[in-house]
């Protein structure tokens, strides 16, 4: 038992922090948001060259064969800088879905492309209502002569406008909840697919609505058995939730650091404002939340690698706690920065918006908590919608 990062893991963190310090600073982030697709393509290429994209992919598929603990370190470091990148959607969401749902041939076809950084995958998981998967899956998968077809609308597709491939969750007509769920991977340019980018609250994670107008797909584009994917999907989504929690932890920690530095620097009443207890105690509360969030995210990443029987519980805990902590820290960061914190120019609003959007993604903290209660108590209240 050693619940602390190893030296090798520390090195991954240090190297990521150096790279992102040079390549993903505040001005670079603003520039990236103005690029088509809303991210920095050179930095994405670098992530491939450095092996980040393949870090958690098995060696037999061209990856480094490391675990979720290592991937989550990269997520944390990117979260600190609000890096806008297809990394989360491709490497932390699509990759585990493909690994969990795909057969050997599909894994062999797709995972090496992810590992090399050669492909960006948008995940079309849920419908326009925004309910979390699998309940919120609305695109329909229907049999047709010689194969299947996808029809309907999926929304909240991260980086959908710049994706090469789409991973689509769909359901059998008439099915509900976790029943009848299928997963498919198709080219984003397939006939019948149209992508409509949104302007999103969170500028750093662009999303699109994707319409499927009877898109024809072949049997081998379906991952696993049609209609029976929900178990594998849920486990993969929990991995993504843990990665998202790690990203939120990084953002929370950075919000605390920025605000602490500001409180030491900003002078009012002849003293740095950080000398006043009203400010100190808020910063202390932020640190209490950040430290607990570290425990939550790090433990969940460990569970992903070595204790799968605790996966659902650890993911629900990490997702809800880290996202709440990030939101509280970012909200406090705005308050403690005063007027400057409310400006477009200062970056703290970007953290606040990312925090809100990360909390909603893949099930809100309240949704995670209701899921969690069912592990240790009977009954079920009406599930929070989101």
């Amino acid at each position: 038992m050693q619940f602390a990062h190893s030296e090798e893991q520390q090195l991954i963190r240090e190297s990521a922090r150096t790279v992102l310090g040079e390549r993903a600073g505040s001005a670079q982030l603003r520039a990236a948001l103005d690029q088509p697709g809303g991210y920095d393509p050179q930095l994405w290429r670098t992530m491939g060259e450095l092996g980040w994209t393949g870090l958690a992919i098995p060696q037999e598929y061209g990856g480094a064969g490391l675990g979720w603990v290592e991937l989550c370190i990269l997520q944390e470091e990117q979260g600190r800088r609000l890096v806008a990148s297809p990394f989360f959607a491709t490497c932390a969401l699509a990759a585990p879905l493909i690994a969990a749902c795909g057969d050997g041939a599909q894994r062999a076809a797709l995972l090496p492309q992810i590992a090399s950084g050669g492909v960006r995958i948008g995940c079309a998981l849920i419908g326009t209502e925004g309910r979390p998967p699998c309940d919120g899956v609305t695109v329909l998968l229907e049999s047709r002569a010689g194969g299947f077809s996808l029809s309907g609308v999926s929304d909240f597709v991260i980086h959908g406008d710049s994706a090469d491939l789409l991973l689509v969750l769909a359901r059998t007509p008439g099915s509900q909840g976790a029943d009848g769920i299928s997963a498919a991977v198709i080219p984003a340019a397939a006939p019948g697919v149209t992508v409509h980018p949104h302007v999103m609250l969170d500028l750093t994670r662009p999303m699109s609505r994707v319409e499927f107008a009877g898109v024809a797909i072949a049997r081998d584009q379906l991952l696993g058995e049609p209609g029976g994917a929900s178990g594998a999907v849920e486990a993969a989504l929990d991995l993504a939730r843990i990665a998202l929690a790690s990203e939120a932890l990084g953002g929370a920690e950075r919000a605390l650091e920025m605000t602490t530095a500001y409180a030491k620097d900003r002078v009012q009443f002849g003293r740095p404002i950080g000398a006043f207890q009203a400010i100190k105690h808020r910063l202390a509360d932020m640190m209490i939340a950040v430290e607990a969030a570290k425990s939550a995210a790090w433990y969940a990443a460990c569970v992903a690698d070595e204790r799968r029987e605790e996966l659902a519980e650890a993911a629900a805990i990490a997702k809800s706690y880290c996202c709440d902590a990030f939101f509280d820290c970012a909200a406090n960061a705005i308050q403690l920065h005063g007027g400057i914190g409310f400006t477009w120019e200062h970056e703290v609003h970007l953290y606040f918006k990312r925090a809100r959007a990360a909390a909603t993604l893949l099930g809100s903290p309240g949704w995670q908590r209701e899921r969690l209660v069912r592990h240790f108590a009977s009954g079920s209240a009406a599930t929070p919608v989101f």
């Binding site: 619940f3 607990a292 519980e313 209240a381």
Partner: protein
């Protein structure tokens, strides 16, 4: 990162579980589940001796002083098995968890050989003399005086003053006491960390009744109380440093056992909600989930603290640990009464005595006060961990 245990460690777990199970279904069956501090003190004394005789009392200590040189993982395992077996709260807590580790870290070799084995054998119990009526949050405002006097039997410290909130003082054989040993000194300087025998005419213990109705702690009066000149840990005048180090030991392996008691309380709340139907209430369910999350995070944070522990230095997770659990438990107390409803306000019998959950509601109000109030904890976090400017003090 590695959460699992080795085969050897799992064998250790089996040994510990077997011993604990045999004792608590056999000779000590009456102590099973007795997690509260009060009750059956004589039987608990026997339990301490039984732990000591089997060398289960202070397993992390070196063998030479009565321990087992147990690894961190083994200490974690023992704490888990101890709680799982329903073993009682430790009457020896102050010696085993606070005095002992302090003596190990700062004591002389002679002191270690003389003082540690009786703790490890469960023969000598300790209590803590820090707070005074005018030294609460401002702990450095200690006024209890210690003067080194020469006498026919050798030099001795003569101690006068009052300590308060002294848990276990009724049972203790020794107290570790922060005293002002340099006349005219103020604040952190001029303090010494003395070890004082409790069984002498100069020491009087008077119980303090708490808002729970019980009396778990005491006022302790020293009137010309004496202790030998060499019963001092660290040098004269260095008592503050030693006292602060003692506080850091409060965040050790014993926190894992404490969490198991919290888990029992949460389970009781869930059971009450299942029984009266409130388990269907969405608001209650959210609060139960929050409580469950907090409890799990305490465990993860404790494992982090233990994995990254460096002697005499608090890591960030250790700075935040106390306020986290104390705030959590206070909320749990309110949740408990919200789940019980009006029935939770009726005492057990004809006296002011309470079942587990109302007792939790009342007792948890102290959690955010003792061992450093939440307000002091936030100051410490802000100043020491975040490096914000120090509070200005009156000259």
């Amino acid at each position: 990162m590695k959460l699992g245990f080795t085969v050897k460690e799992e064998r250790f777990r089996a040994d510990a579980a077997a011993w604990l199970g045999a004792q608590l279904s056999g000779p000590f069956a009456d102590l099973r589940g007795l997690t509260q501090q009060g009750g059956l003190p004589e039987r608990r004394r026997e339990w301490e001796r039984a732990l000591g005789a089997a060398r289960w009392s202070c397993i992390g200590w070196p063998e030479a002083y009565g321990g087992r040189d147990a690894s961190l993982a083994e200490q974690v395992i023992f704490a888990e098995e101890y709680a799982r077996a329903g073993a009682p709260g430790r009457l020896g807590y102050m010696g085993v968890e606070l005095a002992g580790p302090t003596i190990l870290a700062f004591g002389s070799e002679e002191q270690k050989r003389r003082l540690l084995p009786p703790i490890a054998r469960g023969e000598e119990l300790w209590c803590q003399g820090y707070s005074e009526p005018n030294a609460g949050s401002d702990l450095a405002n200690v006024r209890t005086r210690a003067v080194l006097e020469k006498g026919p039997g050798g030099a001795a410290w003569v101690v006068n003053g009052q300590k308060t909130w002294t848990s276990f003082a009724k049972f203790a054989d020794w107290a570790f006491v922060v005293c002002r040993s340099e006349e005219g000194s103020r604040g952190h300087s001029g303090l010494s960390y003395l070890l004082i025998p409790m069984h002498q005419a100069g020491v009087t213990v008077r119980p303090i009744r708490q808002m729970t109705g019980g009396a778990d702690f005491n006022d302790t009066f020293f009137v010309d109380a004496r202790t030998a000149a060499d019963n001092i840990v660290g040098a004269p005048g260095e008592g503050w440093k030693v006292a602060m180090a003692t506080l850091s030991f409060e965040r050790g392996v014993s926190t894992l056992a404490q969490q198991m008691n919290f888990a029992n309380e949460l389970r009781a709340i869930v059971a009450a909600a299942e029984a009266n139907g409130l388990i269907q209430d969405p608001g209650i369910r959210q609060r139960l989930a929050h409580a469950h999350i907090g409890l799990r995070l305490m465990r993860y944070s404790a494992l982090r603290m233990l994995s990254s522990a460096e002697a005499g230095k608090l890591s960030n997770e250790a700075y935040t640990y106390k306020i986290f659990w104390a705030s959590w438990r206070k909320k749990l107390g309110v949740l408990a009464l919200d789940v019980l409803g009006p029935r939770g306000e009726i005492a057990v019998g004809a006296t002011y005595e309470w079942d587990l959950l109302p007792r939790l509601f009342l007792a948890s109000r102290a959690d955010t006060i003792y061992g450093g109030t939440n307000q002091i904890q936030r100051n410490i976090i802000a100043e020491r961990a975040l490096g914000l400017p120090r509070e200005s003090r009156l000259p």
